[in-house]
Amino acid sequence: MENETPPPSGNGSWSPRIIAFFCNWCTYTAADLAGVSRMKYAANTRTIRLMCSGRVDPQFVLEAFARGADGVLIGGCHPNDCHYGEGNYKMLRRFALLQRMLQDLGIGAERLRLEWISAAEGEKVKSVINDMVKKITVLGPLDLPGKCADWDREVTRLEPSVAPSQPPFESEVTHA
């Protein structure tokens, strides 16, 4: 496959883009606390607020990767602390499923991260994001949209050499 690593985007130096899904009650509030406490962390995450980590549809995660995210972070309340009782456990199950799926899809399970961060743990928001940015930077860009475009181009290029000239296989089946 050609073009395995896409050219670095933007101003030359590549830096990961991470979509974060934070639950309203714990992790989003913790991120607010990190802000109020003026903790400094990498600017690579973009957060989407949901009421509960249980609202994270596996499709959201896949969509984020498909649209060009290099990593996806999901933040929920600690086990037993869910504002809605058990939404975080529902997320945990989907997380296990997603990890297997992402591995099979060649995206890699390590690009998806689930963290329990309580409303008091602003410090943890900072450390988790910094750590994740570091790890995804090591993994390099995923660039699923770029890859898809490459595959499309490849198929288009190969198309003429496949279709017309080949004799049909029908002859082999006829004499039976």
Binding site: G10, D32, A34, R38, A43, R55, G87, A120
Partner: protein
């Protein structure tokens, strides 16, 4: 109210707030406004110094009218802070308030990043996500829930008592639940209170009595909350009433049974006096206890243990027939609209700092024990005598035991400096002993506190700046129990070894060991130290993240009596404002089923923690009871056919957000 018609073009107004320099200092707000102006559907894009100010809000209102805007996006602080403000402005402009979307570029951007270019690009991406999302917004109606006017107050210390009285005096029905046999909490154990040195019980007992006899207060002492269901306005609470083996309505508090008990002398550890005194199996915790009802301890009562007592107590009780050895614990269910949690603190267990010898040398006391020793109704009748009966001539008071210490608790417990000074004064007053206070820093903030410190310092106590390293028996005389306190005097730069007769440890305040249990019960958050977390450290100090549940007193963090009382009043006012409004508006973020798309697979039904989803028997379709739905969205994420929709968080809205956030030009 104006609702845009379905095919009317979307006209978005975008506003980015400078927040002084809070946002503008790190984000190029003009560049963001310019970027957003060029996005589809955006009619107007402005930056403004303070969007939350009146002129800022008025600008939104006027623009909606003038420019026929039908969607509003504001990029400013956290939606948890000002979403409501801007929804209101949107409404005042004549739009449904839910045609508004907020972008958090302060807490999640300008405050946490250091590179202006990156922060600006992030602000652009976040704004773009909102611009792409908001065209899909639908007009929604807020759901109103009526508030049950009854209030539950958990914890009968000074905070709980004060909150109960405030609400009860306003005519509200209050359930005051206390775990111990009597209300009063820690304050009931104190002798005098700083800085006025007025007697703790003298100011507390009238309030206790008022709470005990108030027609609007149902006082359940010796009881614990075991279950809380429901939500703001309508909590179903189960309270376990532990058996006292004495019927509360029949007992007159005469204590003749105590007198008549088969044990002639008090023999058992007296919990109220921290084990410094003794009590009988049947006892009143202290003379002013409320309710003034005795109780029988099943661990020590012969009748309850063996059933073979002469029951002289029953005889003494006579016609009152208040003693009931067959009493069982009871579970009571109540419905309340709001809850105030005032569960207090525990003192630091000084055995965790073994170098100070607590629990090893009999002459080492913690401060609460000394409060009991000083107290006229205490085990020694107010005389400060050591366990060997001697009056101490030299006393060391060690500050910051279990506070400001990396090895135990890192926080300052706030009250110890002041109560240490108070104890220094009281011990000196009672015994004329020479007092040494060993401190790290003297911290006496607050009204009249510094003056108090100066007054005590001038009384001639020895204030030594230095953390005590060790307390050990005086090797020169082993019999008297004299101790040596070794510390570095950091003012004189020398090591001091002070022989003393008594050591008082000024122990810090800690969260209760079962904080975790209480927290789960009420679905609250805790700080990492274990104190209950307030909704906002400055602007919502008694609210919690659970609507309708409020905090008061030391369960939220160490504080003194005036602050606990002030907080209790605030919590009562918060509860009161909910009750008097009569209803609360809930986010309309509930989910509903699009029947045409539901296959009736039932995957969603077991996922709902509120059993809000059922299967319509005739149609074979899922149905969500909106009144029960709390809007978590778990069923929405799980529906295989995508036929469940969550208001405010529709799939399409989230997908548009994802798309906007990952716009390739904003890498």
């Amino acid at each position: 109210m104006y609702t845009p018609k379905k095919h009317e073009p979307v006209r978005i107004g975008f506003y980015i707030c400078h927040c002084g320099t809070n946002i503008a200092g790190m984000v190029d707000v003009q560049a963001v406004a310019k970027y957003v102006a060029a996005l589809p559907n955006v009619v107007l894009s402005r930056d403004y110094k303070y969007m939350c100010s009146d002129p800022g809000q008025e600008m939104i209102v006027q623009d909606i009218i003038e420019h026929r805007l039908n969607r509003i996006v504001v990029a400013a602080c956290s939606p948890l802070l000002h979403e409501h403000t801007f929804r209101e402005a949107t409404r005042r402009g004549g739009l449904n308030p839910f045609f508004f979307q907020m972008v958090n570029i302060r807490e999640h951007d300008s405050w946490v990043h250091t590179d202006r270019q990156l922060a600006t690009r992030k602000a652009m991406a976040l704004s773009r996500a909102a611009i792409q999302r908001v065209p899909l917004h639908k007009p929604l109606e807020v759901k109103k829930v009526s508030i049950n006017p009854n209030v539950l107050i958990v914890g009968g210390g000074i905070a709980g008592i004060h909150a109960a009285l405030v609400l009860a005096n306003a005519g509200k029905q209050v359930y005051l639940v206390e775990r111990d046999p009597t209300i009063g909490g820690h304050m009931a154990k104190f002798d005098k209170t700083f800085p006025t040195l007025d007697c703790a019980m003298c100011v507390l007992s009238p309030k206790m009595a008022a709470a005990g006899s108030h027609p609007n207060i149902t006082l359940w002492s010796y009881s614990e909350v075991v279950k809380v269901d429901g939500y703001v306005g309508n909590f179903k609470v189960t309270v376990r009433r532990k058996p006292r083996y004495v019927l509360e309505d029949l007992c007159t508090g005469c204590q003749e049974c105590v007198e008549a008990c088969i044990y002639k002398e008090p023999k058992f550890r007296d919990e109220f006096n921290l084990g410094l005194g003794k009590r009988k199996p049947v006892f009143l915790p202290f003379p002013q206890a409320i309710p003034p009802v005795v109780l029988i301890d099943p661990e020590t009562c012969i009748e309850l243990k063996t059933g073979k007592c002469k029951k002289t107590c029953v005889e003494a009780c006579g016609d009152r027939k208040a003693i009931d050895f067959k009493q069982k614990e009871e579970l009571r269910e109540i419905t309340v609209g709001t809850i105030i949690v005032a569960t207090g603190f525990q003192i630091f267990d000084a055995r965790r700092t073994p170098y100070y010898g607590y629990g090893i040398y009999p002459n080492v006391y913690n401060a609460l024990e000394v409060e009991r020793l000083v107290n006229a109704s205490g085990p020694t009748g107010g005389e400060i005598v050591l366990r060997n009966g001697q009056v101490p001539k030299k006393v060391a008071i060690i500050h910051c035991v279990g506070s400001r210490d990396e090895n135990s608790n890192r926080w300052c417990s706030r009250v110890c400096c002041l109560y240490s000074l108070k104890l220094a004064h009281l011990i000196h007053e009672h015994t004329q002993a020479e007092i040494y206070n060993f401190y790290i820093d003297i911290r006496t903030p607050g009204k009249s506190m510094e003056e108090f410190y100066c007054r005590i310092a001038e009384e001639g106590i020895n204030l030594i700046r230095g953390r005590v390293a060790d307390v050990y028996p005086d090797p020169s005389d082993g019999a008297t129990g004299r101790l040596i306190v070794q510390a570095e005097d950091t003012m004189l730069d020398c090591i001091m070894k002070v022989p003393v007769d008594m050591v008082v440890l000024s122990v810090g305040l800690e969260p209760h060991p079962d904080t975790e249990k209480i927290r789960r019960l009420f679905n609250k958050s805790c700080s990492s130290e274990g104190w209950f977390l307030e909704r906002h450290p400055k602007l919502a100090p008694v609210s919690t993240f659970t609507d309708g549940i409020f905090l008061a007193g030391c369960c939220q963090g160490p504080k003194d009596i005036p602050d606990s009382v002030a907080q209790a009043g605030a919590a009562a006012a918060e509860a009161f404002s909910l009750i008097d409004k009569g209803n609360i508006e809930l986010e309309p973020n509930t989910a509903f089923v699009v029947e045409a798309e539901c296959s009736g697979c039932k995957s969603c039904i077991p996922l709902c923690p509120y059993t809000a989803i059922s299967l319509l028997a005739d149609k074979k379709k899922a149905y969500i009871n909106e009144a029960l739905c709390k809007g978590c969205g778990t069923c929405v994420a799980a529906c295989p056919s995508g036929s469940i929709v969550q208001n405010l968080f529709e799939d399409a809205e989230i997908f548009n957000e994802i798309d906007g956030l990952l716009e390739p030009t904003l890498v």
